[in-house]
Symmetry: D2
Subunit: 376 residues, 4 copies
Amino acid sequence: MTKKLNIAIIGSKFMGRSHSNAYLKVHHFFDMPVEPVMKVACGRNEAELRAFADQFGWEEIATDWREVVARPDIDVIDICTSNATHMPIAIEAAKHGKHVICEKPLAMDAEEARQMLSAAQAADVRHMVAFNYRRVPAIQLAKQMIDEGKIGRVFHFNAVYYQDWIVDPEFPIVWRHDSKVAGSGAHGDMNAHTVDLARFLVGEITDVTGAQEIFIKERPLADGSGTGQVTADDATYFIAKFEQGALGNFMATRFANGRKNFLRIELFGSKGSLVWNLERMNELEYYSNADEQKEQGFRNILVTENVHPFINAWWPPGHIIGWEHTFIHEVRDLLLAIANHEDVTPNFYDGLRNQLVLDKVVESSQNGQWLSVPEK
Amino acid sequence: MTKKLNIAIIGSKFMGRSHSNAYLKVHHFFDMPVEPVMKVACGRNEAELRAFADQFGWEEIATDWREVVARPDIDVIDICTSNATHMPIAIEAAKHGKHVICEKPLAMDAEEARQMLSAAQAADVRHMVAFNYRRVPAIQLAKQMIDEGKIGRVFHFNAVYYQDWIVDPEFPIVWRHDSKVAGSGAHGDMNAHTVDLARFLVGEITDVTGAQEIFIKERPLADGSGTGQVTADDATYFIAKFEQGALGNFMATRFANGRKNFLRIELFGSKGSLVWNLERMNELEYYSNADEQKEQGFRNILVTENVHPFINAWWPPGHIIGWEHTFIHEVRDLLLAIANHEDVTPNFYDGLRNQLVLDKVVESSQNGQWLSVPEK
Amino acid sequence: MTKKLNIAIIGSKFMGRSHSNAYLKVHHFFDMPVEPVMKVACGRNEAELRAFADQFGWEEIATDWREVVARPDIDVIDICTSNATHMPIAIEAAKHGKHVICEKPLAMDAEEARQMLSAAQAADVRHMVAFNYRRVPAIQLAKQMIDEGKIGRVFHFNAVYYQDWIVDPEFPIVWRHDSKVAGSGAHGDMNAHTVDLARFLVGEITDVTGAQEIFIKERPLADGSGTGQVTADDATYFIAKFEQGALGNFMATRFANGRKNFLRIELFGSKGSLVWNLERMNELEYYSNADEQKEQGFRNILVTENVHPFINAWWPPGHIIGWEHTFIHEVRDLLLAIANHEDVTPNFYDGLRNQLVLDKVVESSQNGQWLSVPEK
Amino acid sequence: MTKKLNIAIIGSKFMGRSHSNAYLKVHHFFDMPVEPVMKVACGRNEAELRAFADQFGWEEIATDWREVVARPDIDVIDICTSNATHMPIAIEAAKHGKHVICEKPLAMDAEEARQMLSAAQAADVRHMVAFNYRRVPAIQLAKQMIDEGKIGRVFHFNAVYYQDWIVDPEFPIVWRHDSKVAGSGAHGDMNAHTVDLARFLVGEITDVTGAQEIFIKERPLADGSGTGQVTADDATYFIAKFEQGALGNFMATRFANGRKNFLRIELFGSKGSLVWNLERMNELEYYSNADEQKEQGFRNILVTENVHPFINAWWPPGHIIGWEHTFIHEVRDLLLAIANHEDVTPNFYDGLRNQLVLDKVVESSQNGQWLSVPEK
């Protein structure tokens, strides 16, 4: 008989919706030893929360996360709140022996991340950071190919993450503009993703130099009552050196007019290269030195074949999956890890290493110097 | 209180899975006055059917479709069987007053389609053909733009539908190779889709000339017991004239090596042009004469904005949806039509007009002549 | 010492300019045993001709082509006139023992082409039809790969040639609209090219069915004196069967809004596929079944390497060449053939076979039937 | 009567060939008040030089550049030598009152560039740096559009210049690996180009932080006698701040496997964006906020229309030009400037500003700090 795992989700906005969809679907497409039960949705605005729970079929609602994480019937706490609340929720959940999945970036800074990791390790629970792009089939395929040596020694890892939703200076202040709530702006939201892909595909980053910019420093308040100061970065660029010798480049901006969710990574290695872009996430470009010389070129692999990671659960070749599927894959692997009492990655350790890089970029952009990234 | 509609699905293979996913999700993402209840799944192989029903949560299973369509508690019959059985099931379902959604092509030939349409009209039930590509957001946007006059008078509608899953001569005979079961091969399976898009976007086709080809005439039987004759076409090409004066071109083949589910349409008009490809279904290319001359060019519209059809229900800009979402949109509109006692398209009339075109192409490829397509 | 060959060019418009550039450059980039001398330019409008000759450095001008082809000092006659005059000039030139290169389509119909071929063969001169796209490096590479068996048995050859320069109904009548001068419109101008590529890459065409369309039947006269009837086709589509079993599709139109010189060919074979587009003529897309399964995809070969045809004469990798270079390659091979007393292709035989296909398409579009293409 | 200008070229390798082609063609395609006479080619290896002069039609050869720059019959000195010799030749040429065009980067460092600028200004001659990419029609169009305000305030200028010709560790040492001869490696060769485009399109750079890398530190000597140390950078990355507030990113590498001459720039502005790539140099991508919301998208402008810069001299729409054409445009503008006694850009002032940026990047990559770029 399939075991059931009771899920509590904290947060009902964009990520709350994405994760809900994952719990709805995962066991209908993957052969799972455990089945998630959408037990309780927790948030601050009861009316909104009720609508959210009704929409996605959460059985109950609650407005106090402390009560929720203490409930004995809950197995997994899924944290989809704004960044400033990740730490207290995750630590409290771990103390109550709950498995925890937390949205990214893991914390407001490395110090918080360190405490979260300690708490999760002390409680011996499964912990995961929702860097969902690791579980795009094309990224998993890239990882396979790198591990097989297909591109050889990596010389360059170049990533951009371009959006444009706040190019308009009349776009009002939201929580993501407030560094006290968001930790940072484009940097924590977007570079966190590309740093995770870098660590997954290439390895640890040892040194960084960067720059952060706020192009529109004052914006209207949403309620029309005046204007407010933007304190979170609109864009952050940094150059990085990897432990294994590669040179890295990272650009995150919300001011790339026309780019909606354009996350492109380029890996250039001694035997070949890989290029991938989230807006065409089912495709992976691959160049190989091993091809006959007159026929070398970047191949566009449509990652929708049975032989490709995760695809067996879905549709025939050429029938693409969407952005939301990454969360289904993520939740699948979390649930399997719980069922099998095994670790899952990316976990809070990955969240901490990620945060260590992000922190040093901020510091570098302030003091104008190349900085070493500590290992813990 | 949301009304419930009991669904029975006949067929549990590829399309059965796609439709099941739609019933699972539609009310979680769209605000629906009715909610589908996944009541009964019907098929011939009980073991397979049980697994299918368990996977997707169909409450019951049944192996006799005649019993199912006669059940008083069933509101909607969803036909996902192979083509030769569409007619009897649909007609019987209509006779029992059930709403019917039927996979494409609607029938084995126009005569069958005509009877199905009559039966549905006589029963005054909702009837729909599952030409799901009409409900790709980019196609809906194309339709809007055409209706607004953005591309003016259409001169050309050129469509290809390329797959490659039977290029290998060792690929065994399946039902799709058997014209008695499938009606036709690439033609009915793939040209049916592009003819529907042509009718939706441009209008009726009046004349055709075509060619059909079977490249590999004998294939191994799946059970290894020998070989069998391929009787369904591997590829069908045809040229068409539209009522409104445009010239059309249609190519369907399962021998386009490297193309997995590559359905590309090109519309060239007096004021602009549109190009779309299913493998990048979230994108629509648009050229406009109205742009400043030195800046004219094909624009790649990423159809993931709130202002785009259906997108409001999904994710922020740049977060792409997948192939499966087309069925969710389709089922949404069917259920709304049922709730509102309104017609929905494409319906059996569209299925008939589609079949009339397909039939004449077959006839033309046999007698070597341009043929007129009858209107009914 | 390098031998000199005296060239006479007849015609000073678009093609006259393209060929002139070729004679200017060929010996500066290729190691040639012969050097072209730009001796005389011949045309009807003396003022225009003088400007043309001055611009490109033709030593003399002449207004009577009959005198020119009779001049004993001329070695090569290059025919860049409108189609209706190709035959008389070519035949007369051959009679005077001149080598002849003639713009495409070779003639007004197959009967003319036949006479031209006979005349050239009787005179034992070199004869060439200026199907310059054969000498795009990417096309030569495609040919090499096909000959090596890289794509196996070809199932499909699909070609489009899209332009849009007469979409505007106010665009005045030019000679290309007049079937008496041009022979045909889009068909002879554009399908002639794609039929040549088809014959070069796949082989002979045996059967055709087609349709021709004139969308704008009346246009203003260039001098503003009224309007004139368009008698040459705006668009011609046809389906073809190849001797070796492939199915072919050809579309030529001057009404593809936004497409400027968009000639795309797609070859799908049992082992792989090739796609090429003139607007990105330095690139060749290639799919191979021989690639490891999880890494299969269309490769974009940038055909600018030393190992690629003709490239050695030009620039380092990634430094693209332009459309005009195809003529330089063409003239190179013509001059080498003359120097070496060898045949060159495509020659008048190819021009005839091409014309035979074109003629039958016209006939088919008139009588509505599939027609066989004669071999001579 | 057309005035003649006698040209002397110093250097007969890659750039010598490119410039020779420009002198061969410029007056055949542009209406020029002056015509270049290919008078003398100067180099060190007499045999190679003779072949070069014969190939391109240089009237004389010479092996001592000091004699050449002193010749009274020479009007223009064209410097195509390796970087370390740019300064002495340019200064000496200026002293003799010659107009000078010099390959990029202008000098080994800013100090040299400053002296070259002084010498040219003192002599009141025309001076130009051969940043040929400014004269790609698509780049000129981008400049026009930016000046018209089409993309508004520029927030980001991101450039990559990727090549891969020394990925193979067995590729022998050439002069470009030797910092004493080349000044720098990828940085001076490639970033010099993108910095020029940045200055042309956006404005001056005020601050930089960067990193340089030598991935393969020892390579075989070309003569097989052993190995040598690589002292010029394989890759240089830097982040920049522009005077007008934009954030810039520059990456140059010769280790981007599969990228041959891939120079891509991205400009994101408040009203729109532009993207361009040298490998598809005839295309310009443009996104505009001014488009109707549901139809916004990156447009691919094929920059081959009569209304586009320089194109009038060439071919009809869609008939692409090649990399070599940029030099023809460059030489055209130099000769016109000489004829009209007007300044031409980019000149030695641009070369100096460029070099000031490059120098500070090198310094920053050594001392690990953000550095201000001096204005002179």
